[in-house]
């Protein structure tokens, strides 16, 4: 319509014509409008579908948003948990750090400890090396000692067999001379021959005693419970039988219990009682006592006599091999007996000592396996 301008007509016909024209225009316009309206309606219809779609989309979006919200809540929840966890982690971290520190301290300590251990180790290694060396030395020494022992054994065996045979000849043929050629030998000659025999016999005794001493060292120790009083009585009975003229007062308790090697302790008592018997031979009233003295931590056994005794200044020499405190003229003996006694007592882990005075007798004490 914007193009159509209304102007008053000069002629009614013209006016009618104009009006008709306008009306025609209007009609056209109406048709256009109707078309437009229809298009609009179409569009509107389309829009409605669109709208529905949009609504659906919006709804979907809302749904999604709603879901998101849930998700967010969940996420928030999760985040809270994570935060909690992180918080926990943090505390844990502090703890871990403290622990790490402690561990580091320990490691440091271990480090110093380790160096200490290393030092000790090297010391030990050195010590082990030294010990090995010592062991090797010991092994060699033992091999040497074993060889020496074997040699000693062979030596003793040879002594036992071979050294006695010539002595038997010396004694035997001296005796043969005395018996078979008695008429041709004067009294002095007989004294000489008897001296020869005596020396041969003395040497045989010496050999026996020395063999006994070496046997004592080599013999295996067989310890049992035994009664020393019984052994002492046996030894003294034998002495009385060998010297029937002697009158000796004996003091021995019924029982003297001990633990030791019966054979070897028999040798000890034979020697000690034999000595007591020998050194009381010049006494009018000889007395020999055997007994024990129970002390707090040990039992001391003793053999006491009222015989010749000796000067205590020499007591240390007494137990040495071939040591004698009396001349052969005074009292016979080989000087091996007490060395044998000492060796046996030492092998039992005990001690032997003495107490004496010249002219007032002697006492020999011994212990077996002293409890220290």
């Amino acid at each position: 319509m914007t193009g159509t301008r209304f102007e008053p007509a000069a002629d009614p016909a013209d006016t009618t014509k104009a009006i008709l024209n306008i009306l025609s225009d209007f009609s056209e316009e109406k048709e256009r409008l109707q078309g437009t309206q229809r298009a609009f309606l179409n569009i509107l219809e389309d829009s409605s579908a669109e709208r529905q779609r949009l609504e659906a989309a919006q709804k979907a979006a809302l749904n999604i948003l709603e879901d998101f919200s849930d998700e967010r809540a969940k996420l928030a929840e999760g985040q809270g948990a994570v935060l909690n966890i992180l918080e926990d982690f943090s505390a844990e971290k502090v703890r871990l750090e403290a622990m790490q520190k402690a561990v580091l301290n320990i490691l440091e300590d271990i480090d110093t400890e380790k160096s200490k251990v290393e030092r000790i180790n090297s010391e030990m290694a050195r010590e082990i090396a030294e010990r090995k060396q010592a062991e090797e030395a010991l092994r060699q020494a033992k091999a040497g000692a074993d060889a020496a022992n074997r040699e000693l054994e062979a030596f003793s065996y040879s002594v036992a067999h071979d050294l006695r045979a010539p002595l038997r000849s010396i004694d035997g043929f001296s005796q043969a001379l005395l018996e078979d050629c008695a008429g041709k030998i004067d009294d002095e000659g007989k004294v000489f021959l008897n001296n020869v025999r005596e020396s041969a016999q003395q040497m045989a005794q010496l050999i026996d005693d020395l063999l006994g001493l070496s046997r004592v060292s080599r013999a295996e120790l067989r310890q049992t419970r035994l009664d020393l009083a019984k052994i002492a009585r046996t030894v003294l009975a034998r002495l009385q039988r060998d010297y029937p003229d002697r009158r000796v007062e004996l003091v021995i308790p019924d029982k003297v219990a001990a633990v030791g090697d019966e054979r070897l302790l028999g040798v000890v008592l034979e020697n000690l009682l034999g000595n007591a018997w020998k050194f009381t031979s010049k006494r009018e009233r000889a007395c020999i006592e055997f007994g024990q003295r129970v002390e707090t931590d040990r039992v001391v056994y003793f053999v006491r006599d009222n015989g010749a005794g000796f000067n205590m200044a020499y007591s240390q020499k007494l137990f040495g091999v071939f040591q004698r405190l009396h001349s052969a003229n005074e009292f016979e003996g080989t000087g091996i007996g007490l060395a044998t006694v000492q060796r046996i007592i030492h092998r039992h882990g005990g001690r032997v000592w003495t107490d004496a005075a010249v002219g007032r007798g002697a006492t020999f004490f011994f212990t077996l396996e002293e409890r220290v």
Partner: protein, 150 residues
């Protein structure tokens, strides 16, 4: 019947002389055979070597056996005597210088009937020999020997 022999196995001539003297002195064992080492002793007993052809059915009454002997020692001689059927029961007395425990033990283990140590002192020695002679020649009853005729 002829007196049965005394077999003395002894390598030391001095000991041999002393033993024979002691036996003679006590008038025992007139029939003493001496072997100077282990081989000779075994030859005599088994009729071999120098004693080949000897009548082994006539064994000695006793063997006095020294331990230390040349060639074959006393213990080995003893073991061979015990191992042989003919001489298994023959009385053997070890007569030696030592009384070493190992000698005693091995002697008896090998089947010795007796073990006597020669004393150094002659009168003791003579006494020991006399006792041996008396015991083994007079007192002891011998096991029946193979071929015993009495």
């Amino acid at each position: 019947m002829k007196e049965r022999a005394f077999l003395l196995v002894e390598d030391n001539p001095m000991d041999e002389a002393l033993t024979l003297r002691a036996l003679k002195k006590h008038n025992i064992a007139n029939n003493v055979v001496v072997a100077h080492d282990g081989v000779e002793a075994l030859d005599y007993l088994f009729g071999e070597g120098a004693h080949a052809g000897r009548n082994t059915e006539d064994p000695p009454a006793v063997v006095l056996l020294d331990l230390k002997l040349p060639k074959i020692d006393g213990l080995e001689v003893l073991k061979r005597i015990r191992a042989n059927e003919k001489t298994r029961l023959l009385p053997v007395v070890i007569l030696t210088s030592s009384k070493e425990q190992r000698d005693l033990l091995e002697g008896y283990n090998s089947g010795a009937n007796s073990y006597v140590r020669k004393p150094v002192e002659f009168t003791e020695f003579a006494e020991a020999v006399r006792n041996l002679g008396l015991y083994w020649l007079v007192l002891n009853e011998l096991p029946p020997a193979t071929g015993e005729t009495s």
